[in-house]
């Protein structure tokens, strides 16, 4: 390893001046061209490149700000539209509710009338039927009385007795009551 290092320094020594950086004869050349280069770069950047890029960036920032403001505005409008929609919906709902209640009341009233009417008819019919039933019962009781009187008269005659109409009738009537 030592030999290699030795070799290295030997080679460096052979190459002439160790560091070209310290060769002062080239300094004026480098400094001259450096100054020229820096002036040219400064001119290019400050005259052309930087104003243009700065302008493009400012333009973009402006556009973004405007777009954001516009988006905010649109959002506000969308919110308003939503509120209006919600309001309309609530109103429609309330109206529907009212219509519903009114309709129900109307139907109820009609129903009540119909029910009363039907009740009246039912009671009328019932009364009618009761009268008819009573008539039928009366007539049947009379028929039975007649038949009983006739039968009793015939039985009395068959037994050989003389049937007094009045007595028989009275007897039958009293029996049928009992």
């Amino acid at each position: 390893m030592a030999t290699k290092t030795q070799e290295l320094s030997d080679a460096a020594a052979e190459a002439g001046p160790g560091m070209p950086q310290l060769d002062f004869s080239t300094f004026s050349n480098q400094i001259f061209w450096l100054v020229v280069t820096l002036v040219v770069i400064y001119f290019i950047l400050s005259r052309f490149a930087l104003p243009r890029i700065g302008g493009a960036l400012a333009e973009r920032a402006g556009t973004i700000t405007n777009d954001l403001a516009e988006a905010e505005d649109l959002k506000q409008r969308a919110l308003e539209a939503e509120q209006a929609y919600e309001k309309a919906l609530a109103e429609a709902r309330a109206e529907a509710q009212q219509i519903n209640i009114a309709m129900r009341a109307e139907i109820q009233a009609q129903l009540d009338i119909e029910l009363a009417k039907a009740d009246a008819e039912i009671s009328a019919r019932t009364a009618e039927a009761a009268t008819a039933l009573a008539e039928i019962r009366d007539s049947s009781v009379n028929s039975v009385k007649d038949v009983a009187k006739a039968t009793a008269k015939e039985i009395v005659a068959a037994m050989g007795g003389k049937a007094d109409v009045k007595t028989v009738t009275a007897a039958v009537t009293s029996r049928m009551k009992g």
Binding site: T26, F32, I44
Partner: protein, 259 residues
């Protein structure tokens, strides 16, 4: 084995890690101050690349940037934000100046990483001029803006009174050392990285001379070149950034000398 390698090394391997830093005239003759050299060539390339990125790349000005436009705008935004954050609102006037330094160093560093290229920023002459320009600008701006109040940068009012003269001495020394460290940091980093790559590159053809040891050394040196190259890509950016942010820090002292 060692002596064997030694003799073979003498014949085959050539170590000239510093040759890549030589300033060479491209038109023949001696290197005068106006001679077109490889320095001129690389700096001209730097200007062309910067113009390409910052003007041609950003020519679209589209609302939604294209890729090349994004590169220019991100670089702009990166440096602009750095200048604004470090120096404050009133330091923004120096933005083109900082941007010039950053772009020059960044592009020159990256161009220097191209094989066979010359790295202008590896020369102390180049970095010292830039650092001295920053130093002088900071000093002049400091006195113009604050008058003798600029000397407050050396007088740390938050320290105990007894310590202040000592701290002031240290501050003065560190103030004048700034251009040295500012320039040597960049030149040293660039030079060291490139020299190390060159040393490993010199070891790489060992397999052609001594197959036995070369089978080990050659792949290792190629691997090392790759690794150091990757590191150098990182360093190329970091050094440009460090130079730019230190410029901003010094400018802040000039604008707001009171800590």
């Amino acid at each position: 084995m060692a002596t064997e390698t030694h003799s073979e090394l003498e014949d085959g391997l050539v170590f000239h890690p510093m040759d890549q830093f030589q300033v060479i005239s491209l038109v023949g003759g001696d290197v005068e101050w106006f001679t077109i050299t490889n320095v001129t060539l690389m700096m001209a390339l730097t200007v062309i690349v910067i113009a390409f990125i910052m003007i041609f790349g950003a020519r679209g000005r589209a609302l939604v940037p294209s890729r090349s436009q994004s590169i220019a705008e991100l670089t702009y935004g990166f440096i602009y934000k750095m200048v604004e954050d470090v120096t404050g609102k009133d330091g923004v006037v120096f933005f083109p100046y900082v941007m010039t330094l950053f772009m020059f160093i960044l592009v020159a560093n990256f161009l220097g990483l191209i094989p066979m290229a010359f790295t202008t920023t590896s020369h102390i002459a180049v970095t010292a001029v830039m650092a001295m320009a920053v130093f002088l600008a900071v000093t002049i701006i400091g006195f113009v803006k604050n008058g003798f109040g600029f000397l407050g940068v050396f007088w740390i009012s938050s320290a105990p009174l007894i310590l202040r003269p000592i701290l002031a001495l240290i501050e003065v020394i560190s103030y004048f050392v700034r251009p040295v460290s500012h320039s040597i940091r960049l030149a040293g980093n660039m030079m060291a990285g490139h020299a190390v790559i060159k040393v490993f590159a010199a070891f790489a053809p060992l397999v052609l001379i001594s197959t036995g040891i070369g089978l080990v050394v050659t792949p290792l040196s190629i691997l090392a070149i790759t690794a150091i190259y990757a590191l150098e890509v990182l360093v190329a950016f970091i050094q440009a950034y460090v130079f730019a942010i230190l410029t901003c820090v010094y400018l802040r002292d000039a604008l707001h000398p009171h800590h």
